[in-house]
Subunit: 105 residues, 2 copies
């Protein structure tokens, strides 16, 4: 955290960071990504695990796909999702540390 960025650079970075924040700023999507960060899962598995109605789920997954936060793989009728490595994963890790591990602190 040493070198200072120009306002332009900050704006550009903030814009990109902000798009990621928007993706995580929704409970269902956040939970989805948490699940998918741990292991690859099919839509049906996610539906069962999180109790989100299927079309809603699919819509959220579409958003995540369009923002390239997840990758997909089809196996027959099943569509498997997983988190793509990148900034999303780093932030998810930070959130996990802050909100899931901090019980005993």
């Amino acid at each position: 955290m040493a070198h200072t960025l120009s306002l332009e650079q900050m704006h550009a970075a903030a814009g990109r960071a902000c798009r990621l924040m928007k993706m995580l700023a929704h409970p269902d999507r956040l939970m989805l990504l948490c699940q998918l960060a741990q292991r690859e899962m099919s839509v049906g598995e996610l539906e069962a695990a999180l109790g989100i109605p299927q079309p809603t789920l699919s819509q959220q997954l579409t958003v995540l796909r369009e923002e390239q936060l997840v990758d997909t793989r089809r196996d027959g009728k099943y569509m498997y999702y997983r988190v793509r490595r990148g900034p999303a994963l780093a932030v998810l890790k930070a959130l996990y540390t802050q909100f899931c591990e901090r019980k005993k602190l």
Copy 2:
């Protein structure tokens, strides 16, 4: 990242994390927090630094105050803001690493 949380625990954590994400999911607020993470600043300084119209700025600062992401200190006519230590700072740091330092990677 070892122990698995119950769905209920996940939901609760996701809810709290999500509120933070919402706060960061806005370019102006994100820039504000980045500035304020570096040093305490008055509203006027922020206005000058970021070029955000004053009422808009004040509105965003109010939101950040209500979510307790910033602390304030009045000095005469001036109101100074700073980022409160906590999850927000951890996430800001992660964002900085991902989006501001990663040029040469």
